[in-house]
């Protein structure tokens, strides 16, 4: 059971035009930098990207936007880059905005084989349009459907050759839920180790959810908002 591929180019083999991808990360934190670069180089287009955010002009999913490879974004918060705004206003880019918790839950449910579930988020708002409403304990809920993707691409801190993953800090974010929801899940990691090196008791994503894994290179890990305090 060896899921290791050589690099990002090999990892994204099989991704073709018009597929749906999930990409882990929150802002620029915990994004699969290597696979995004490989996608940019691949010229694959017409992608539907499910990702909490859409990167910035010159990093993250912003690079795919610059390259006109994205047809649709499914996100909770976007527009931190000018190209995104331009493409959306011109109608080139379709955007589906989803409450962040519903997005996370819809990915988790997709991976967990729960096709639909009720949540209170969005009731009474435009998010509720066209959705079934049902009351539980007197409180209105929307029926939300699960999300899956042709490929889910996640970034972890450490992984083993069987696909078991560990994330570091808040770079975890959407990665575990999306790892569950890919028909094929690709994991890029900062450090790839042999089976047995990770403690079975402390693995965040069990390898069963991961089909391909590789050790990435040259992680930039860009900080969007460096905020610091001064030493007294």
């Amino acid at each position: 059971m060896n899921k290791v591929v050589e690099n990002a180019e090999k990892a994204i083999e099989g991704i073709i035009d018009n597929m749906t991808l999930m990409l882990g990360g929150f802002g620029l934190c915990g994004i699969p930098e290597n696979c995004i670069s490989a996608l940019v180089n691949s010229k694959i287009k017409g992608l539907t990207c499910i990702s909490n955010n859409a990167g910035v002009d010159d990093f993250g999913i912003g690079l795919l936007l610059q390259n006109h490879q994205v047809k649709k974004m499914i996100s909770s918060y976007v527009g931190e880059n000018d190209e995104f705004e331009r493409q959306m206003l011109s109608g080139e880019l379709e955007v589906d905005l989803i409450p962040q918790g519903s997005l996370a839950a819809r990915c988790y449910m997709g991976g967990a084989g729960v096709p639909a579930f009720f949540t209170p988020a969005g009731y009474g708002t435009e998010v509720a349009q066209g959705k079934e409403i049902r009351y539980f304990d007197g409180k209105p809920h929307l029926l939300e459907s699960a999300l899956t993707a042709d490929f889910a691409i996640v970034k972890a801190w450490k992984g083993d050759t069987m696909g078991n993953l560990i994330y570091k800090g808040t770079a975890r974010n959407f990665n575990p839920a999306m790892a569950m929801a890919g028909k094929i899940t690709i994991a890029e990691v900062e450090e790839l180790v042999e089976p047995g090196e990770l403690d079975p008791n402390f693995i965040h994503t069990p390898g069963v959810f991961v089909q391909r894994i590789f050790q990435g290179v040259n992680y930039e890990k860009r900080i969007e908002q460096k905020t610091v305090r001064q030493k007294a």
Partner: protein, 218 residues
């Protein structure tokens, strides 16, 4: 009249020992700076941390440790990291005792609008719709009027709403108001602000019963 720090200070008085608290971006973030000395609360950031601490010292920032505003942060002893699905399980499951949010508009029945202005670029609701739909205790922190002097406390929201009948309390530069079935009930005046001034700045129904005390801020 309060400035943004004053609003944050007043909201900090609402904190109770042992609460888990989610602070939105903007004025709400400042609340963390004014937690009373004898009160222990744990701050949640919905991107996946409980026990968020202060910003790191310069040079000690870690790209893998950010808050929901994408700012670099630290973790306090007893902190815990989790994924987004678990984070919103906490929020949706009502395990967070207080949510403090900014708003563009609040209506007298507790509706809130804070995510979208028609005609302007829409950036998305982020976690706001989840937070307002699930939290039992939501305080809105905002200026009483907008930059053009128009009231943000309305009979009904004019902007696309984020959630219905969810806000419990509003703290503005002018006043503290509870949302009641009958409208905005004036609870406290900001220092030096008169009831008449608050009435003038409130488009929604304002309920004034008896003497309205002035806020006490250290």
């Amino acid at each position: 009249m309060l400035d943004k720090k004053g609003i944050a200070k007043r909201i900090a008085q609402e904190l109770r020992n042992g609460w888990y608290v989610n602070l939105g971006i903007g004025i709400p973030t400042l609340v963390a700076n004014y937690v009373p000395e004898n009160i222990n609360v744990v701050f949640q950031s919905e991107n996946g941390i409980l026990g968020m601490g202060p910003f790191p010292y310069d040079g000690e920032e870690d790209a893998d440790m950010i808050n929901a505003g994408k700012q670099t942060i630290t973790a306090l002893p007893g902190a815990v990291i989790f994924d987004s699905a678990t984070s919103f399980a906490m929020i949706r499951g009502k395990h967070i005792q207080l949510t403090v949010l900014g708003a563009m508009e609040v209506s007298q029945n507790g509706d809130i609008a804070n995510w979208k202005i028609p005609g302007k670029m829409v950036k998305g609701m982020g976690g706001a719709m989840d937070l307002v739909a699930s939290a039992d205790n939501i305080i809105v922190a905002m200026m009483h009027t907008n930059k053009r002097g128009i009231s943000k406390l309305l009979k009904a929201c004019t902007l696309p709403i984020t959630g219905v009948k969810c806000v419990k309390k509003v703290v503005t530069n002018l006043a503290v108001l509870d949302i009641t079935p009958d409208g905005f009930k004036l609870v406290e005046r900001a220092p030096g602000v008169t009831v008449a001034e608050i009435q003038e700045a409130t488009e929604g129904k304002l309920i004034v019963e008896g003497e309205i005390p002035e806020m006490v801020l250290e």
